[in-house]
């Protein structure tokens, strides 16, 4: 049975009912949801890593090293987006989801758009401010 590990930036304590972390790189933690055959099989949490100026790739490497294949985010900068693309993690836009459960349901229904540079915040894309890394 093939499964996919999805990471969702969350506020403490994480889990399906947790609100999405508004600031990707500064979120409290990540909720990891294992999905197989269109169903949620397992829900765990993963601590975030400390963030420092210019250190946008730390969470990219952190999630890649923990087997994450898909990330759902409300906002991020261009550098981490390019980083995720380059390490092979698909990034989807949360599309207004308020909780981890809503984000996962959007994923399972196929209603979450791919996170492209148009969604990035700040100088990377000129789009509205949706979050910071």
């Amino acid at each position: 049975m093939q499964s996919t590990i999805v990471a969702i930036p969350s506020t403490h304590p994480g889990g399906l009912e947790a609100p999405l972390g508004a600031h990707f790189g500064h979120c409290d933690l990540y909720t990891l949801v294992k999905i197989a055959e269109g169903k949620v099989m397992e829900v765990t949490t993963l601590p975030n890593v400390p963030h420092q100026q210019g250190g946008c790739l730390a969470p990219v490497n952190h999630l890649a090293q923990n087997g994450v294949q898909v990330l759902i985010a409300g906002g991020m900068g261009m550098r981490p987006l390019m980083g995720f693309n380059q390490v092979g993690i698909d990034v989807l836009y949360g599309n207004g989801a308020q909780t981890v459960r809503q984000a996962v349901e959007g994923l399972l229904k196929g209603t979450l758009p791919r996170f492209t540079t148009e969604f990035t915040c700040g100088g990377g894309g000129g789009a509205p401010q949706m979050g910071k890394v």
């Binding site: 100026q53 900068g77 981490p80 390019m82 380059q86 915040c121």
Partner: protein
């Protein structure tokens, strides 16, 4: 060894800065005269850091940062800019730039930048 590319068309103004970097035995400093040369260096060897001077002949600094990210997001960048720290942060948000450098950086700027680079790379 830290591989650093310095992209500048003002070698005289950057001389003290470049000398300070080169004097560090942990640094391998490569000079590029344009944005295109810096991009080629990033494609060829994935440097740890690309330092981008203002007034390059072929590209604006933040545009070059975006092009570098598309080549390899793992490459860190630093940018020479006359903007204040707040203005620079606003202009460059999301690009993950390691730091802003003054228009005529010297030894202290080189030392600070190397410290930041080592911290980000986890070797500091």
């Amino acid at each position: 060894m830290l591989h650093i590319v310095l992209a500048t068309a003002r070698p005289e103004a950057m001389q003290a800065f470049a000398a300070a970097l080169s004097s560090n035995p942990e640094v391998n400093l490569q000079q590029a005269n344009s944005g295109a040369e810096a991009l080629e260096a990033a494609r060829a060897s994935a440097p740890h850091l690309v330092i981008i001077d203002a007034n390059l002949p072929d590209t604006a600094p933040l545009d070059l940062v975006q092009k570098l990210l598309m080549v390899n997001a793992m490459v860190n960048t630093a940018v020479v800019s006359p903007l204040s720290d707040d203005e620079f942060h606003e202009a460059s948000e999301g690009l993950g730039i390691l730091g802003r450098l003054p228009t005529e950086p010297g030894m202290e700027a080189a030392s600070d930048l190397l410290h930041k680079l080592k911290m980000v790379l986890g070797v500091g």
